[in-house]
Symmetry: D2
């Protein structure tokens, strides 16, 4: 993969945005390798993502930012630009179940997904050996059920210490405190084991079995202070039938969870997700 | 298709059910063309469906019922047997939208699904010409928004008059009164335009758009006195993205609705659905 | 839906295309409602589709063409622009089976798909009454198995007589002569009842049953002189199992065929399909 | 999971099979936890799989075999019975790519799939450390491209040495010699990275990209002496579009491959797959 800059923009829609942005890039000889744009007619909001060959531009990322700022200001853009060669720092959090964590670690070590893992945090020690085989630091931060605050404080400190760009809750079975969620908007991803908004909260497969649904699902979403209610990045489902016990649903669901989380994570790492209101635009 | 008898059974699970049923059938020379059985370990409940070549048995349906009754009584079975050559009488109900109705009518006139349609009932007159082209009586029973009871009374009388085996709400946009639902348990099928239990009630696509889900769905279920809460027969989903307006979701959803309803209807017509509690076993 | 102009472009990739096109549109005050672009890195080919609010432009379609031509020439574009208010003329061809035809006719009469149907052509008379109920002329052009050429000549003349923009083979069970295919490149759509390139030619469900595949499919493609080998527009599959006889596969497959054809047809009618080589870019 | 015996039967269809089998089991007080049967009307062949609670029977597996033999002989059954408590010995073979191997190893170490792994065989040394972390012996058996026979001889000897019940080609990139395939009928499983019968042989994703298909797939099948032509156990597909390069297809396809192989492996391990002719019945 050649090195690219990814420019991600949202702003009120008006005539001339694409023209100005593409004109600016063309004026510098910039070669666009991938382009997506979307205008939400109802909200009159515009979204775009350009991927530009870094070698085709006459300046580096800081130079790009400096040159582009006047255009951004003219259109009232909320925007950022990232460098595909700079991997994001992603803290992974898990509890005892390893299906999502294992899947992410495979993608990381095979290079299928490009990112750094400063550490894995868990409230249990079970997954230490597996994680450490990868050469990744493993932090066991236990939870005192009668006083969870120290745990979350330690989590918060660790996230800050490694300067994490993203936190992934890879079946981490604790509910983060609202303040922590609010301090990292759009930077904490969770995988919930139901097709949201159905079956919020605990034991969704049991809820699904009780209701007698014919498909079970999983949802990858940004974490907000309201439980399982944040902007959805990706979802998928799998078919079940009467032969499937709740235990079978848990097993079948694992495969959905890990693939949905992997896709959602990819979209985020590649700067393909734009949050607006409680929804997302995903330039997949 | 050769004529078959379909024996559908549910009873408390115990040793010897299959042996007794299959032994009885084999003793008469009965040729089983399709067999399904399922034991719910948790509820200790047993379900089975046998399809037997009619010509292989030495008696007709009444004879079968008479001979089989002692076995049924021994095991405390809830059971019935149907004759594949006797089509069910299905009243179709619709409002203005025709996608589900048209789809069902195609399957009926092509013979893909075998059943009789004594009439189509609608609270609007829009679909009269299309239905009547098929040679099917069309009843326009208007709804007075300030007094809906006469409408439902007329519906009830019509269902009784044609001795309907089944009523299909093919996007009929009125909520049936609870008493009517209770009087026809397991005999009224609805198609709801969401992936239940998400988005119960009115305007589910708008609810889905508001929540930002990445898949929309439809649910075919038996109607009970609680809105959109009856036993689910079939569900499916389709992928949507940010480009899809709510109007697009309505359009995309129509295709899911009609195929889910068609599958659910087939399962019911072929006696493949067994309701227990608020769930279904579908021997598809 | 507000009236739009759809500009569809393909050309060798180079710096400045988007800038020039969007700059031209913005310069006229043009409001872009939908934009897609794609650069094929391997072939260095660029594709784009812009949808522009007609009322935002100071000229009509002919004016647009005139003004845009210099840009098109500068970049060596293969391009066209269409008016969303001008429905395409689509000749439907079928034989005896009506599942695809019925589905398309529903979408037409409900307005879900906007197009005109100058006539339906069939080599059988079976579907006359159904088609004529819609007020659409029905042409029965029989095929002499020993001399098919007169049939195809009549088909050709009819297509020319109504000045068809598109011909849809909605399960028309005759193989068009190569010359006819070549005379309408990208303007004849077929639905093939297999997941191509598997099971080219006759009786694909029988071939599928023989091979023991676990999914059956359908393929919507442009017709070329080589049988079932033209550019693919859309495909989908459905799961089958050992319970499904070949007859079941035919039945299950019908639902896949009609939805795949409907999607492919929509893409074409909305000018979302760009053919290059033997492949398509679909800006869905 | 409680211990069960799994009786798997195929024989010519006739009246009385189910009655005899279920009568025999009921006569011993056997508790059937899961039952599947299927009659292929065309070939007049009957298939069944019963899962019986081991503790409900008055004898062990050998006792069962002895008692059941007369029934099996009467109906000309091809049959076997397995003990769910006896894990199968599965030799895994891979080359350099680890997505399928990693996925299987996760299911093994988490207990999601119950089986033993006497060793992993590879023609490369790349995956040694990962496999050995699991405590599983890793055999690097290099291939001399000019003389592959010694490699295959070593493979054959190793399979025999560990008395393998099953060999899984988890993206092992060598074609097994026909004789080896024939010596282990129904006991070597391969994952092919296309939706067979499309794209047999090498570089199927390149073939798929070339043909412009809209879905890519994977196929889990038993290996026979004819390349990629053995009985299919499981298949699935994933959607691709013009944005996806061949490299993207490879990446997207990996997820399909690993889930299809995992499902196929589960079916085999649980004795749910019955081969007949070149097809399978899968009692999933």
């Amino acid at each position: 993969m050649e090195r690219t800059y990814r420019v991600v923009i949202s702003c009120p829609d008006q005539v001339g945005i694409v023209s100005s942005v593409s004109g600016f890039i063309a004026g510098q000889g910039g070669w666009i390798t991938e382009a997506h744009q979307f205008a939400d007619a109802e909200r009159q909001q515009f979204f775009m993502r350009y991927e530009i060959l870094a070698s085709s531009l006459p300046y580096d990322l800081e130079g790009f930012k400096h040159e582009f700022t006047p255009i951004a200001e003219r259109f009232g853009m909320h925007w950022y630009v990232t460098d595909s060669a700079v991997p994001k720092k992603v803290v992974l959090m898990a509890s005892k179940q390893a299906h999502c964590l294992s899947d992410i670690l495979y993608r990381w070590r095979s290079g299928d997904l490009a990112f750094d893992i400063p550490c894995v945090i868990s409230n249990h020690d079970d997954l230490r050996s597996y994680v450490e085989w990868h050469g990744i630091p493993y932090l066991h931060l236990p939870v005192d059920p009668n006083n969870k605050e120290p745990h979350f404080q330690a989590v918060r400190e660790q996230i800050a210490a490694v300067d994490a760009d993203l936190v992934v809750l890879a079946r981490y079975m604790q509910i983060l405190p609202p303040q922590l969620c609010e301090d990292y908007p759009g930077r904490i991803i969770n995988i919930h084991h139901s097709f949201l908004p159905s079956f919020v909260g605990a034991r969704p497969y049991h809820q699904a079995a009780e209701r007698g649904v014919k498909l079970i699902g999983a949802t990858c979403h940004y974490v907000t202070s309201e439980l399982d209610a944040g902007p959805i990045i990706e979802q998928d489902v799998a078919r079940v039938n009467h032969h499937n016990s709740t235990a079978d649903m848990v097993r079948i669901g694992k495969d959905v969870e890990k693939s949905v989380l992997a896709r959602g994570l990819r979209y985020h790492l590649e700067d393909r997700v734009l949050v607006y209101g409680n929804k997302t635009v995903v330039f997949a």
